[in-house]
Symmetry: C2
Subunit: 324 residues, 2 copies
């Protein structure tokens, strides 16, 4: 339901005036799914006013330029248009039976596509991934809640889920580390880290719940963002060292590594997406990890100043480089 007035006010900036263009934009934005130019004309004629097909085509073109709409080609011999403003660019599943289309995003596919392009020294500007076939509903008859809600919400939901999973795995890791560590100060460091993760986790979960408020069915909607190996392995780093005993400096170094991994991961993926709420979540999360990271680094430096450089056991590579 993304407040239309907002959108219309935010975007129409493009260079030109508006009048019934306003109206076309409104009708477009109030419709879900992928409309063809003709669909739009119909909807508008139903609503009320009498608008020429040519105007709709011209406005559609302008909307694409203005970043409100995106032109998509499902191979039907005509184009369709989808919302673009703060909707992440995505891929499509296209049902040949009911002619509906469903959206998804796969960072993994995106990464591979980039790899291919670069292997061929091809400067890619855009990529299209479309899966044609038959949707569940058309095969089984049952209705399946697959209807795409607003992509932006789904994206935000999945970004948060990933962030939460990451945070959870961090919490688990630090808790286990605290349990395993004998050195009292090392243990304390891990306990503090765990505490911070727990707090942060709370924030994320609150935000997730807030998101659910906006759309009661949000949680049951199918995965939008396919993202392999999120949260996996980010916190494995240094785990083996725990058994060998870890003091406070070393515990901090481990924490620093984990947080840095996490920060980089979310920064990288946040950067990759188009402007949208989900992107914000990734970047905010990356930023929080960065802040946390910096705090840990300061703490580590203070500790080193106070105690001198680590006194065994287990080398941790060059601590200087690690803390840089």
């Amino acid at each position: 339901m993304t407040s239309l007035s907002d959108l219309t006010r935010l975007k129409p900036a493009g260079g030109k005036r508006s009048s019934k263009r306003e109206h076309i934009v409104n009708v477009f934005l109030s419709q879900e799914g992928h409309l063809s130019a003709d669909d739009l004309v119909d909807r508008i004629r139903n609503e009320d006013s009498r608008i020429s097909r040519a105007t709709v085509y011209r406005t559609l073109q302008w909307m694409v330029e203005a970043g409100i709409a995106r032109k998509v080609d499902f191979g039907e011999g005509r184009f369709r248009f989808e919302h673009s403003y703060r909707q992440p660019r995505h891929f499509h599943l296209i049902c040949k039976t009911c002619h509906r289309s469903f959206e998804f995003l796969s960072s993994d596919i995106e990464a591979l596509v980039e790899e291919v392009a670069s292997a061929r020294s091809f400067a890619a500007t855009q990529s299209v991934v479309q899966i044609y076939g038959t949707c569940e509903e058309c095969r089984t008859g049952r209705s399946t809640n697959l209807a795409d809600g607003h992509t932006d919400l789904l994206f935000a939901r999945d970004a948060l889920r990933i962030a939460i999973a990451t945070e959870r795995s961090g919490l688990e890791f630090y808790s286990r580390a605290a349990r395993l560590t004998r050195d009292a100060r090392g243990k304390k460091v891990f306990e503090d880290l765990a505490e911070e993760e727990k707090e942060h986790l709370g924030t994320l979960e609150a935000r997730y719940n807030e998101l659910l408020q906006r759309d009661p069915q949000l949680e049951s909607r199918p995965t939008f963002l396919f993202f392999k190996g999120a949260a996996n392995g980010l916190f494995a780093e240094g785990a083996d060292r725990l058994a060998r005993g870890v003091n406070d400096q070393q515990a901090l170094l481990i924490g620093i590594r984990c947080e840095r991994g996490s920060h980089r991961f979310f920064k990288k993926y946040g950067d990759r997406f188009e402007d949208s709420e989900g992107k914000q979540i990734f970047l905010e999360f990356a930023d929080e990890e960065r802040q946390h990271l910096e705090l840990l680094i300061r703490e580590y430096r203070a500790l080193v100043k106070r105690q001198g450089r680590a006194r065994r056991p287990g080398r941790t590579g060059s601590p200087t480089r690690a803390a840089r």
Copy 2:
């Protein structure tokens, strides 16, 4: 140059007669790249005869049904057609400057696409992956041998390269194993395995060279088949056990595991592709691995019958299950 007469004789079966349809098909097959219906009409009119546009459209449609041509949509507002007979289905890089398109195949992307479809319980029948941008030639001015040769040849080349790489890594593994193994009979087993790999490697290389004969530039053409993790890790299995000493039975078990891994790998990927020379290569390779595997299993059984079950060192899981 895939012998045209062959193709025309092999395929035109479709249900109907032929006459100047024959001619259209020939012209189509003799052209490389992606032609639009109009392109085809032009080429034919240049060649000689006077053929109606409608006939070309009708024939094109028939060719698609007959599996000679594939209809592709590069978002230009008209369709293009590419060879399909024994050409693997593939994806495209599309240059927006020179309007040429380049083909590639990525098993990794295909796998991810399948995953997404299955996560959404979508019955996928076809998928489209297109990367739009600017090709190297258009950016740098230099000509770059990127022109797509026949995809089928490229596919065969890359399939062979992967098979060869796998075989090499197998050879290396068995040689190292032979070097490390003290037990005389275990050593002998690995030496034999290495010998067999070497022989097989020779066959593959001969075939590769034969392929190169067919197109002098073949080797310098860019990668067509993107395929991660081929040859990686297939032979790592059991490597750690080597250090602990391995007898002939255990050596055979390790060999069995490696060959089985290799067989499965190539079978799986061979099955995934469309009819084409590359597919054949994958499947033949899989089959050879299977034969080799069966041989090893027979050998293992004979050994067990002769010696009784393994007498240490190092458990190898349940040998019975392993040999099944």
